[in-house]
Symmetry: C2
Subunit: 202 residues, 2 copies
């Protein structure tokens, strides 16, 4: 089939309006990006990797909507925790934990970890899936280090303790535009945008 490049409708496997707005900025004018329909079933994030979870969500959204779907799965990999919280980043302190509890637990677990061994990375897998089974997944990553006390009120999640390499501020101390420019999610979705023409044209 031939994709109509001018107005291809794509579903984002999320109902988060901030994420929808961010992705509209990144993907640009060639796409009509829609939120996940209200009646789409929830997807259990049972994958062991960000890539698996992003693909699970994109496939489910494509199946539910009959449209090409994009999805992401993101988290923090902490070197001293062997890459965890990883896919459990949003529920590290338990399924009912909030951002503050997750962040406090990571800080507590790292109490005895000296400054030279506090490396970490924000990682984002972005996936696209079409109703007829085409799919791609890419990964964006930003490396940095974890400080000992939260700083800044922007962002969410672990942003207040993450200082990217080459900066002295946490990602919670940056403007949204500054963070987008370097962030794992920005990188992953800019990379995915580069693959959309070949996926949609197939």
């Amino acid at each position: 089939m031939n994709a109509q490049r001018e107005s291809v409708r794509i579903v984002l496997a999320s109902r988060n309006t901030a994420k929808l707005a961010e992705l509209r900025r990144i993907l640009g004018g060639g796409y009509d990006l829609l939120p996940l329909p209200d009646d789409a079933p929830d997807v259990a994030e049972t994958g062991g990797t960000f890539e698996e979870n992003a693909l699970l969500k994109a496939r489910a959204a494509a199946a539910a909507s009959g449209l090409t779907a994009v999805a992401d799965d993101s988290g923090l990999r902490v070197d001293a925790l062997n890459g965890m919280p990883g896919v459990l980043s949003a529920r590290w302190a338990g399924r009912r934990a909030d951002d503050a509890a997750n962040l406090e637990l990571v800080l507590d677990q790292l109490t005895d970890v000296p400054d030279g061994r506090r490396g970490a990375a924000f990682v984002c897998a972005a996936a696209v899936a079409t109703p007829d089974g085409e799919e791609r997944v890419v990964v964006g990553e930003v490396r940095g280090a974890l400080i000992r006390e939260p700083r800044g009120s922007g962002g969410f999640g672990y942003d207040p303790i993450f200082v990217p390499h080459g900066d002295t501020r946490t990602t919670a101390e940056m403007s949204a535009a500054e963070k987008d420019a370097i962030s794992h999610r920005g990188q992953a979705f800019r990379a995915l945008a580069g693959l959309l023409p070949e996926v949609l044209g197939s």
Copy 2:
């Protein structure tokens, strides 16, 4: 120097009387095993591995006592947590957390992990250090799987959710003797016992 094999005095880098009794059984009659002196300084377990921490504790105890010292560091490696809690096993839910809180957090983090991916291992590093700088470290490991609800009242730590390969009971449902026979700590200290003559004879 020549070791007096009949009554070599060895310090255990612990004041845990249960551990002292267990180790006396394992090492047998050739050694006079003493608890850590009350005035020995506490050692920060800053190592990134069980081996490092066991050596840190053995060296510190040897320095404080002027005697050969043995020490161990143990924990649970969970496959789906990339080998964590690992060296953080005793403080996984935070520095003030108890065994029950640590166990509950691991169960919570593994909620979505299916039965086929719930592998884990109890790991123990046992170290010996002499005042003149001889040292050895060995590792014992028992592999198994984590169940979803605690069972049994024996043992401590993560015993109520750990079923060793080849058994259907948790290590908290075994007698102390049964657990000793297969346990990571039993294996590590039996292995270390085999090295003591060469360390003490040097």
